[in-house]
Each structure stands twice: as structure tokens, then as C-alpha cells.
């Protein structure tokens, strides 16, 4: 599983990118396999609902194993650049909050807040410009979808 490090040290072993990638797919597939117990595989003449998922899970495990087996050709795990992780995590949290609010407080409020938080707190844009963009874009989008395209967006519980 673990590829040897450079020959000079001979002692340390390093984990490579595909050890983790392949390993994750194997573990996840085994877990899903365990969840598939109630799905009947059936027979070849009468395939059941579980046949396709179980075949595919078998393939996922096989391809995951190939990745692990050939992981020595992949770069070390430590070379993956996680410099964008903080930005990604922040965007995910803000987007998740907006989705939570989307059907509860309506499109206008949730999206205005989403834009405001991203622009003002994360991108550090000026307050007035942020307010103008957040409100302007939200109202324009609301009018475009709700009024012009007749494609209803979640309403606000109060007046929209």
C-alpha cells in the first residue's frame, strides 16, 4: 500500500495521492455495499434491483484497487496544494446558510444576504458598493425570473 521513499533514506515511506484516492473509493464502496443488503441481486434470467448497483460497486472497488496498486506513479499526497481550502470552506459555509434560508425566508432576503456576506466580509468590498450590488442584482434577478420568465422563486413570508 505504501510506496517506499527515496532510496537514500530507505526507512521512511510516503503516502501518495492515489493511495488516498483509491482507498477512499474502496472504503466508500464497501460501506455502500453493506447498505445494499436488502436489494435483491436476482438471477441472470431475472435480474433484481440490486444487480446493477452491486456490479458497479464491484467495479468501483476494482478500479480503486488499480489506483492503489499503481499509486507509486502518482505524486506524494503532500504535494497537493490546499492553499484554496480556506476560501472553498468559507464559500461552502456561506452557500449552505443561504440554501437553508432559501425556502424559509424567500429568495430576496436569502440571496441578498448571500451576496452581501461574500462581497463585504469575504472579498472586503466597500459597504455602499456591496449594498448596491447585492440589492440591485437580487431584485433584477427576481424580476427576471419571477415576473418576466414566470418561473416562481421562493417568496418572502411577509410581502414578496
Amino acid at each position: 500500500m505504501i510506496a517506499p521513499d527515496d532510496e537514500r533514506s530507505g526507512q521512511r515511506a510516503i503516502i501518495r495521492r492515489d493511495h488516498i484516492a483509491g482507498g477512499m473509493f474502496i472504503v466508500a464502496s464497501l460501506l455502500i455495499f453493506a447498505l445494499s443488503g436488502d436489494l435483491p441481486f436476482g438471477t441472470l434470467a431475472s435480474p433484481g434491483a440490486g444487480m446493477m448497483p452491486k456490479l458497479v460497486l464491484g467495479l468501483l472497488i476494482a478500479f480503486g484497487a488499480i489506483l492503489v496498486a499503481r499509486a507509486a506513479e502518482s505524486p506524494p499526497l503532500a504535494t497537493i496544494n490546499w492553499g484554496d481550502f480556506r476560501h472553498a470552506a468559507t464559500v461552502v459555509v456561506v452557500t449552505a446558510a443561504a440554501i437553508t434560508l432559501y425556502t424559509r425566508v424567500g429568495f430576496v432576503l436569502s440571496v441578498t444576504l448571500l451576496l452581501f456576506v461574500l462581497l463585504y466580509f469575504i472579498e472586503r468590498r466597500s459597504l455602499w458598493r456591496t449594498l448596491a450590488v447585492s440589492l440591485g442584482v437580487t431584485i433584477a434577478s427576481y424580476l427576471l425570473f419571477n415576473t418576466l420568465l414566470k418561473s416562481p422563486l421562493p417568496p418572502m413570508p411577509f410581502w414578496f
Partner: protein, 514 residues
């Protein structure tokens, strides 16, 4: 042939209706913008705007969405040439010599050659599509479940073989997509599969949340705003005309790129990306001055740009004639047709001639529109690139949420989009291409149904796949491709796929392909 011309005339009568022209124009404009803007590619653009077409009839909807697709191929060249940022993944090769030409003060000429090459290739592609798709559709009427199973298998193997990442990685992604496609009620037995008592999952996972999450949100998560520059200088109108020498140097590369791109486009996989690489490699190999490549060779712009446009048209052949997507973009376009109650496939020509021929005729018109849009108005379009990315990505997130929610008015779909965004981010970190995942998701229902029907038909005898000539032939092709892959693996030979991966990696270090 006469009936084809009559049908095409029917198509033009649809395509020239003012309302249809308007939607074709809108699609072309949006496509150009989508192609230019880093962080949002044609797949995300089409997925996000899919709900906008719900109020339209099927003809207008597919014409607008297809306009976004081939429009993005035109627009992608602009950022590649002016900023060395491939706004669209297929424009990676154009970055090399297009940007070098811009550095020499020939940005206008490079843009003009790219636009004219794209126009010629796009128009040739539509003519070939007009001729090939109807007879291919008629032939496909002979297909039964075993043939469809074999066709889907060969499609997946072809996709994996053509991919610039490894065969195992691509097939793993496709299998992951098929597994996602298994979620929901099994239509043959009524069993709930992996729905976890969530009623919304009973209908399965939609293509739109997955595609928007992987390609829209996933791209944004991987792109901190500080890393995006928006310095761009628009060429002046009088700088747009290439010299006589530049025209001469671009003529044959455009012709070769057009034919090569169309042929590659029919093959499953991210054909428009592969075609531009193959065209670049071909031009460099046959050039009398290969040392000019990388330093502003006209052929290095003309060939790849023509190839990727011809390929995007070629990709419509299997989609329209066989009902099979060759990539994620055609998969989403297929989903759009299905949402509008028009199943693509062999019977599309006979059952919905207005949609089929209207769509084809609109592509002739669309290519003309794009030529007009991309030359005189290039100065106006590049202004969009001056919008700071810090303002752009919150808007894209907003459109992702609206786009996904509006498909089914389901908040679960929006959560799926967010989860797929995180998955897309992680997949990029581990060097997986998410495109085969979407393709797997799209073909999953057809694949499962045709496989199970084949087995039931034969009373469990899997030899049915080798007893019927078409499916046996298709499986032989699959086996051949697997052997070819194994040979290059054993020989440790660096073939064109490995070279493509290297170029993509080096270009994405400098820009951000979408």
C-alpha cells in the same frame, strides 16, 4: 437527398421565425460570454440556464441551449488569445500561439483567424450533420437492448481511452456516475434504492444539480478571487484583418482541423478538447517550420480553433441520431430535450421533424451570427472580462442556486448541488476529471434497462451480446481499445494522451480552464 433538402427547407422555415431567431441570438451571445468568462464553462452555463427555457417550446429551448454550446467555443478563443486564460477548456491549445501572436501585436489577426476558422468548421460540421444524422438514425432503428448495451459499453471505453487521465481513473468516474444514477425507484421492480426515506430521492438524482455542482460550484471553490487577474486590452477594429500571408498560412490548417475535428467529435469523450490537441499536434508535425510553434504560429491558432468547433457540431450526430450523449454537454442537452417531452434518438427525425430540422437549420444561422458577434463586437465583449472576479463568482453561485432550484422546485436538489460542488473540488485535488461522472449518470438508466432487458430476452444467457452481429462488433471494438491501452501501459510509451495531459497541466498552472 431531395427529401433532405425539403426537410432542411422545413428547418429554415422554423429557424427564420423572428422569435426563434431571437433565442438563437440570445444563445450565441450568452455562449460567447460563457466561453470568455473563466470559471464558467459551457456545461455550467447550459445547466444554469436550463430552467430559463422551461417556458419555451422544445425547438426554441434546444436552439438556445445549443447556441450557448457552440457559442462558447467561439468565445473561448478570445480570453486564450488576449489573456492566455482558456475561458473554455477546449481553448487550451489556442493559448500557446494565440497569446504569442498577441504579444507580437497580432491579437486582432489571431482573433479574426480563430473566428473565421470557427465559422468554416462550424458550417462544415452542420452540413455533415445534415447528411449523416438522418441515415444513421434510420440504421439505429435496428438496435435492440443488446445493441444499446454494447453501444454504451463501447462509448464508455472510448471515453476512457481518449481521456488524458488514465483509463482506470476515467472508468472509475463513469462507474461512480452510474452508481449515482442507480439512486431512486427501480422502474422494473419498484424497489427504493439508496433513497434513505427522502421522498425527493425517489425520482433519482438529477443531471442538473450534479453538473452545476461539479462544474459550476466546484470550479468556484477551486478558484480564490486573488488568483484571477482581469487585465485585458481590446484590439482595435483596424487591427483585426490578417495579412495576405497570414490568410495563406491559415487556409490548410483550417481545412484539416475542420475534417479532423468533426470525425473526433462523433467519438464519445471530451472530443472538442481532444480534437484541438490533435489538430495542434498534426499541424506542428507537418509544418515546414515547427520551430515557430509556441512563438506565434498562425497554424497553431487556425487548426485547433477550427477543430474544436467542428467537434462540438460532430458531437450532435450520436446525440440526435442514436439518443446517446458523447459528453457531459450533450448529456445535459439531451436532458433538456427530455424535459420538454422530446426524446432524442432514431425516432426524433420522424416524430419531431420541426425540432430536428429547425435545430439543424438554426446552427447554420447561429454560425453566421457568431461570426458577426465575434469580430466587430470583440471590443465590447472583452469589457466583460474587466468585471472583477470577486464580483463575478457570488453572482455565479446565485445563478447556480436559482438554476438548480427552478428545475423541480426542490431544495434537496440545491443541497445535492452543494454536495457535488464539494465532491468536484475534491476530485480536482486528486486529479480526477468529473466529466465521465456526468456521462455515467446520464447513461445509467438506459444502460441498466438495456442490460437487464437483454438478459431477460435471452433467459439469462449473456452470450446474446456476441450472437448478434452489431453488438458483437461493438464489443470487439471495446476489446480492441482495451488491448491498445494495455499495450501502451506495458510499453510505457508516452502517447498523445499523455502529451495532452502535460499541456493541460502546464496551461492550467498559468490560467484557469473551466
Amino acid at each position: 437527398m431531395e427529401s433532405t433538402i425539403d426537410s432542411l427547407l422545413l428547418g429554415f422555415s422554423v429557424a427564420f421565425r423572428p422569435d426563434v431567431l431571437l433565442y438563437a441570438f440570445l444563445g450565441c451571445v450568452v455562449g460567447t460570454l460563457v466561453g470568455m468568462l473563466p470559471g464558467i464553462g459551457p456545461l455550467a452555463g447550459i445547466s444554469i440556464l436550463l430552467p430559463v427555457t422551461f417556458g419555451l417550446d422544445a425547438t426554441k429551448a434546444i436552439i438556445m441551449l445549443a447556441g450557448i454550446y457552440y457559442g462558447s467555443q467561439y468565445g473561448g478563443s478570445t480570453t486564450s488569445i488576449l489573456m492566455r486564460i482558456p475561458g473554455e477548456a477546449a481553448s487550451v491549445m489556442t493559448c500557446i500561439d494565440g497569446y504569442a501572436m498577441a504579444q507580437k501585436g497580432r491579437a486582432g489577426a489571431a482573433l479574426c483567424i480563430a473566428a473565421v476558422g470557427s465559422f468554416i468548421a462550424g458550417t462544415f460540421g452542420v452540413i455533415a450533420l445534415t447528411v449523416i444524422a438522418p441515415p444513421l438514425g434510420a440504421f439505429a432503428l435496428r438496435f435492440g437492448p443488446p445493441e444499446y448495451t454494447a453501444l454504451l459499453v463501447v462509448g464508455l471505453i472510448f471515453l476512457a481511452y481518449m481521456s488524458s487521465t488514465s483509463l482506470a481513473r476515467t472508468l472509475l468516474m463513469a462507474a461512480f456516475g452510474i452508481l449515482l444514477g442507480c439512486i431512486g425507484i427501480d422502474v422494473m421492480t419498484g424497489h427504493f434504492r439508496y433513497a434513505f426515506d427522502i421522498p425527493d430521492l425517489g425520482d433519482g438524482i438529477g443531471i442538473v444539480p450534479v453538473a452545476v455542482g461539479l462544474f459550476g460550484l466546484g470550479e468556484i471553490l477551486s478558484t480564490p478571487s486573488q488568483s484571477v487577474t482581469s487585465k485585458v486590452k481590446a484590439p482595435r477594429m483596424r487591427e483585426l484583418l490578417p495579412t495576405r500571408r497570414e490568410w495563406r498560412e491559415s487556409a490548410m490548417p483550417i481545412a484539416r482541423g475542420t475534417v479532423l475535428g468533426f470525425v473526433v467529435g462523433i467519438v464519445p469523450g471530451s472530443a472538442h478538447i481532444i480534437s484541438s490537441f490533435m489538430s495542434y499536434a498534426l499541424e506542428k508535425r507537418i509544418s515546414k517550420h515547427p520551430e515557430e510553434f509556441g512563438r506565434g504560429a498562425v497554424a497553431g491558432v487556425a487548426g485547433p480553433e477550427s477543430a474544436n468547433n467542428a467537434a462540438s457540431t460532430g458531437a450532435f450526430v450520436p446525440m440526435l441520431a442514436l439518443g446517446l450523449p458523447t459528453g457531459p454537454v450533450t448529456a445535459v442537452l439531451m436532458a433538456a430535450l427530455l424535459i420538454h417531452g422530446v426524446p432524442p434518438g432514431p425516432q426524433l427525425v420522424t416524430q419531431h421533424p420541426d425540432v430536428f430540422w429547425g435545430f439543424i437549420a438554426s446552427m447554420y444561422v447561429g454560425n453566421l451570427m457568431l461570426l458577426a458577434l465575434n469580430l466587430p463586437l470583440v471590443g465590447m465583449f472583452v469589457n466583460v472580462l474587466r468585471i472583477p472576479y470577486a464580483y463575478l463568482y457570488p453572482l455565479i453561485i446565485m445563478f447556480c442556486i436559482i438554476g438548480v432550484y427552478e428545475v423541480n422546485h426542490s431544495i434537496i436538489d440545491v443541497w445535492i448541488m452543494l454536495v457535488m460542488g464539494i465532491v468536484g473540488y475534491l476530485l480536482r485535488k486528486f486529479d480526477f476529471d468529473p466529466a465521465p461522472l456526468v456521462l455515467g449518470l446520464v447513461i445509467a438508466p438506459t444502460f441498466e434497462m438495456s442490460l437487464r432487458q437483454s438478459l431477460i430476452m435471452s433467459n439469462g444467457a449473456w452470450t446474446i451480446f456476441f450472437e448478434r452481429p452489431i453488438s458483437a462488433g461493438l464489443f470487439a471494438v471495446s476489446a480492441g481499445l482495451l488491448i491498445l491501452s494495455a499495450v501502451s501501459l506495458v510499453m510505457k510509451r508516452k502517447d498523445w494522451r499523455a502529451k495532452l495531459a502535460e499541456v493541460e497541466a502546464s496551461e492550467s498552472d498559468q490560467g484557469r480552464p473551466s
